[in-house]
């Protein structure tokens, strides 16, 4: 099991990627910043970056400033 933003739990399976986490949650935000266990994951690596079991994932949607 992995936790996302301390709010959501996603079942872990072998080969789970960042994109797999987003797909499970149904999140398709274009502007999102993601870290896995404190390390930033660039957008072009979402489909390849593996998420280990019990990982702490932060996925922050970017909103406008002022």
């Amino acid at each position: 099991m992995i936790r996302v933003n301390d709010l959501f739990e996603v079942p872990w399976k072998e080969g789970l990627t960042v994109q797999g986490v987003l797909d499970f949650l149904g999140w398709d935000y274009a502007l999102i910043t993601i870290t896995v266990n404190e390390f930033y994951v660039p957008p072009d690596e979402y489909s390849a970056h593996l998420v280990p079991d019990r990982a702490d994932v932060r996925a922050i949607h970017i909103a406008h400033g002022g």
Partner: protein, 202 residues
């Protein structure tokens, strides 16, 4: 500067912040107010980046006045900051920051205050900063629109990235001076805490 300008600072703060450099990307509602807070705290050096000129419609929330209208924001802000603390060192770039500018223009900064207004620009700037300077924190303003709803404002950390704001509001709500200034102050407050705990950049 007056010898007693920082006498009411938290003990030890003035000496540390005086050696620190912060980049402020975007000198609008978030950036101008955060820069004022950082200079009042005694930050030693700021790198200010913005391509816009001050417009009358900025005055409802940005740290400018009627005399600044028509002037480049970085120049007007630099004048205000020098009036607060003449000893602060300022580097100004009146230009639209592009991804390729991040490393050469912001390399001296210990920390970035990301204060763009457009979400798309915020996204690439955070990405470029982390790519270029993975060990240095970025404090990003994220969701400031509307009024009230103070209890929705928060600080969320993701690795070396700190997000301040409500994380969701849309610009269509309009912008309120107090709410924008609150988020800017949160950014400055987080930045000060991080700088106080940061090792010197080699």
């Amino acid at each position: 500067m007056a010898d007693d300008q920082f006498i009411r600072n938290v003990p030890g703060m003035t000496e540390v912040l005086g050696r620190r450099c912060v980049a402020v990307a975007g000198c609008g509602g978030l950036g101008s107010n955060a820069a004022v807070a950082l200079v009042r705290a005694g930050i030693g050096r700021l790198i200010l980046v913005d391509c816009d000129r001050v417009e009358s419609s900025n005055l409802n929330r940005q740290a400018f006045d009627q005399m600044d209208v028509g002037k480049p924001k970085v120049e007007a802000l630099a004048r205000h900051l020098k009036a607060i603390h003449p000893g602060v060192k300022l580097v100004t770039h009146c230009r639209r920051l592009a991804p390729g500018d991040v490393e050469p223009l912001l390399c001296d900064a210990d920390l970035l205050v990301e204060a763009f207004d457009n979400a798309h620009d915020k996204h690439w700037l955070v990405h470029e900063w982390v790519r270029c300077f993975p060990g240095r924190p970025v404090v990003s303003g994220n969701g400031v629109a509307g009024m009230g709803r103070t209890e929705e404002l928060k600080v969320v950390r993701a690795g070396n990235i700190w997000f301040c704001g409500d994380l969701h509001s849309s610009l269509e709500l309009g912008l309120c001076s107090a709410r924008v200034a609150l988020v800017a102050a949160m950014q400055a407050n987080v930045a000060i805490e991080l700088l106080m705990n940061q090792k010197e950049t080699p």
